[in-house]
């Protein structure tokens, strides 16, 4: 948004200055000038997210017990869905903003949250299979050129352990970052 404003300001400055520059010339009436127009396009990236928040309820029944027996529970596929737009080389990454919220005195490990990403764009570099999230940024995809509406479908898996994962509400926030990269 800031860059868009700066670009607009840039264009306005040029437009406003052109007549001024012309009037500054004492030879204006007697000469012909060729007009020049400069358009500066900065590095722009846009990251959209759909179905960002995922709520999973383990119900008391066969499905809940089966999840514990399997050792994990999975959220719905393709949720969230990331959409990448960029006009320069870019990188998409993910990290946990902070640890899981405490449940009683129990601190669930950040790495108990796994992420798998699928995309047909051909730029995916990580998380092709379920891999643990961490507090450090980890690359999902990158490209040496721009991207136009590239979709990245995510699915979350949360590891479960009978002996550790006591009843309660577990919450964690992930940060997805799309950034253009210096050439």
């Amino acid at each position: 948004m800031i860059i868009k404003k700066a670009l607009l300001l840039h264009a306005k400055v040029i437009i406003l200055l052109l007549p001024l520059l012309c009037f500054c010339s004492p030879l204006f009436a007697a000469t012909t000038n060729t007009g020049e127009f400069a358009l500066d396009i900065p590095s722009i990236s846009k990251l959209s997210i759909q179905d960002a928040d995922q709520v999973i309820n383990l119900i008391q029944g066969a499905s809940g017990e089966a999840a514990y027996e399997a050792g994990y529970v999975e959220a719905e596929p393709a949720k969230p869905k990331l959409v990448v737009d960029a006009n320069a080389n870019w990188k998409l990454s993910v990290s946990a903003m902070m640890e899981w919220d405490l449940v009683g005195n129990y601190q669930k490990a950040v790495s108990d949250l796994l992420l798998k990403v699928s995309s047909t764009a051909g730029h995916q570099t990580g998380f092709g299979s379920f891999a643990p999230i961490s507090l450090l940024d980890q690359e999902i995809a990158s490209s040496a050129s721009g991207a136009d509406n590239e979709n990245y479908n995510c699915i979350y898996r949360i590891l479960l352990n009978w002996q550790k994962d006591i009843p309660g509400v577990y919450v964690i926030i992930l940060t997805y970052t799309l950034s253009t990269q210096p050439t």
Binding site: K46, S48, A52, Y68, V169, V171, I172, Y176, T180
Partner: protein, 174 residues
């Protein structure tokens, strides 16, 4: 004209410098998982059978006053994600006469968390009795049990005696 051109060039250069920075965008995703209390009770070799044949061994058992059924039958498998309790009760015997439910005894040979005297044979009743418990979750905890039936020459008529034992695993507390 020259001055104007210089000013224009300076403005362009400043703008170029300003736009040389990289762009970055972030989005957040919240993941929420609600876990309720869970308990899972598995049972292996649930049904146990013993036949006393007419031989000296059966006489010995009557003399001893009891017959022990096969060890580790049934074996209970406990999973729980919080404090839990295992209880047992019996429906009593069906047979030639109303054999006392207390004549059916149970032992839990688990190395851990056995309570209420069931580390050795203890009579069951129609009322639920605590067999084992623990203050935290467990995974695949085995409880190999064994039955023992009291025998009495004076009361136990020939015939087939059956009893159903109900094991209940429940999570406890808030």
């Amino acid at each position: 004209m020259v001055l104007a051109s210089i000013i224009f060039c300076i403005i362009i250069l400043v703008c170029e410098f300003a736009f040389a920075i990289e762009d970055s965008e972030q989005q957040t995703s919240l993941v929420s998982l609600t876990i309720l209390p869970f308990a899972r009770l598995g049972i292996v070799d649930a049904n146990v059978q013993e036949t006393l044949i007419q031989d000296v061994n059966s006489e010995i058992k009557f003399d001893q006053g009891a017959v022990e059924l096969a060890a580790q039958k049934p074996t209970l498998i406990i999973d729980a994600n919080k404090r839990w309790k295992l209880t047992a009760h019996t429906s009593g015997f069906n047979g030639p006469y109303p054999k006392d439910a207390n004549d059916l005894m149970l032992k839990d040979a688990s190395a851990e968390h056995v309570e209420n005297g069931f580390i050795d044979f203890k009579s069951l009743s129609a009322k639920d009795q605590e067999v084992a418990s623990f203050s935290a979750g467990v995974k695949n905890e085995n409880h190999p049990c064994q039955y023992k039936i009291l025998l009495d020459y004076a009361k136990d008529l020939p015939g087939t005696y059956t009893a159903t034992v109900t094991f209940t695993l429940s999570t406890q507390g808030a």
